[in-house]
């Protein structure tokens, strides 16, 4: 029962896929083909990410991390989180395990949110790529607007979460 509840999303999606296979065989078969192909891409992308967070787990000292990005890190913590975010050019799904590790090591929640939001919307390694396709103006306007939005989202969510919510997030991070 516990396993069922824990993997409810996986079970629902599997049922949907099976239903597609029965009702629309063509779409269903295509879906399985895409799933296998994407699984390889995911593994390829996630292997270095997980190696890095595994090493972070054993090498990074919690105290040092709290000093850098923790509760009393103030503007230094904000700056480090933002810088770390914008140089990390990975999709959202690969970003989350890194965020979990930052939480486990005692980073402030608002800083982790800055990291996630900045990395999702501003990716410095990809800027030139964006410029070459979308042009300077498009890229720069998005960059500037996103800069403000990153902090807006992080601050709003941080203010909305109460102590209980925050404790839950940290407890959860320890279990990962």
């Amino acid at each position: 029962m516990k396993i069922f509840k824990k993997n409810i999303f996986l079970i629902i999606v599997l049922c949907l896929n099976l239903a597609a296979l029965v009702l629309f065989p063509q779409t269903g078969i295509k879906s399985f083909e895409f799933t296998v192909k994407n699984f390889m891409n995911f593994l390829f992308m996630l292997t270095p990410v997980f190696i890095c967070i595994g090493l972070m787990d054993v090498w990074i000292d919690r105290k040092a991390m709290i000093k850098l990005m923790g509760e009393n890190s103030k503007s230094k913590g904000v700056l480090i989180s933002f810088a770390l975010g914008v140089v990390t050019a990975v999709p959202l799904y690969a970003l989350l395990p890194i965020a979990g590790m930052l939480l486990k090591k005692g980073s402030k929640i608002s800083n982790v949110l800055i990291f996630i939001c900045s990395s999702a919307s501003i990716r410095i390694p990809l800027l030139l790529f964006e410029v070459s396709y979308m042009g300077w103006k498009f890229t720069m306007i998005r960059f500037i607007v996103n800069f403000f939005i990153v902090f807006a989202i992080a601050i709003i969510i941080d203010k909305t979460l109460n102590e209980k919510d925050k404790k839950e997030i940290y407890d959860n991070a320890y279990k990962l």
């Binding site: 999606v13 989350l96 969510i157």
Partner: protein
């Protein structure tokens, strides 16, 4: 195309691994063991995302994406682009060339901008994974605000590039 940036990640991981191994062999092995454990812990969520993504890709062919972004205009087109960006997971490396091509063939800049913003910041399919790391409340709020602000970014971009 996507692999260029993955190689950059592999480079970083390899350098860190070598430094770590030279400094302390046992600690490195422990780190790798922990990495594997953490990976297996979220594997069910990842597999679910993959199946959902496969289904979405099979049900929404790229021609549909091109139609939604390229031909619909006005508010309904912008909403459809936002919905499309929120539910699909396409690497930006693939999305930018498509977006650029659509712009040249006359698609609205607001649609394209909202699509790119939602694609990168709003993750409908990855929500269960995000909940696992950040909890329900933070996940819902983050995705909601990311969606709202995607419209703002898109309108500002559209207004500035008029």
């Amino acid at each position: 195309m996507n692999s260029i940036f993955s190689y950059y990640l592999y480079g970083i991981a390899a350098i860190l691994l070598i430094i770590s191994y030279l400094k302390n062999k046992n600690k490195t092995l422990l780190g790798l063991k922990k990495a594997l454990k953490m990976f297996l812990n979220v594997l069910p969520q990842f597999i679910a995302i993959l199946f959902l993504l496969g289904l979405l890709l099979a049900a929404i062919p790229s021609s549909v994406i091109k139609n939604v972004l390229g031909e619909n205009s006005g508010i309904s087109g912008i909403l459809a682009s936002a919905a499309l960006g929120s539910i699909t997971i396409i690497p930006v490396i693939i999305a930018f060339p498509i977006a650029s091509e659509l712009l040249q063939s006359g698609a609205g800049i607001v649609q394209i901008a909202v699509f790119i913003s939602t694609l990168t910041t709003v993750g409908f399919a990855t929500m269960p994974l995000e909940i696992k790391y950040l909890g329900k409340k933070t996940t819902y709020l983050r995705n909601l605000f990311a969606l709202i602000f995607s419209f703002i970014t898109a309108y500002v971009t559209g207004w500035a590039l008029r």
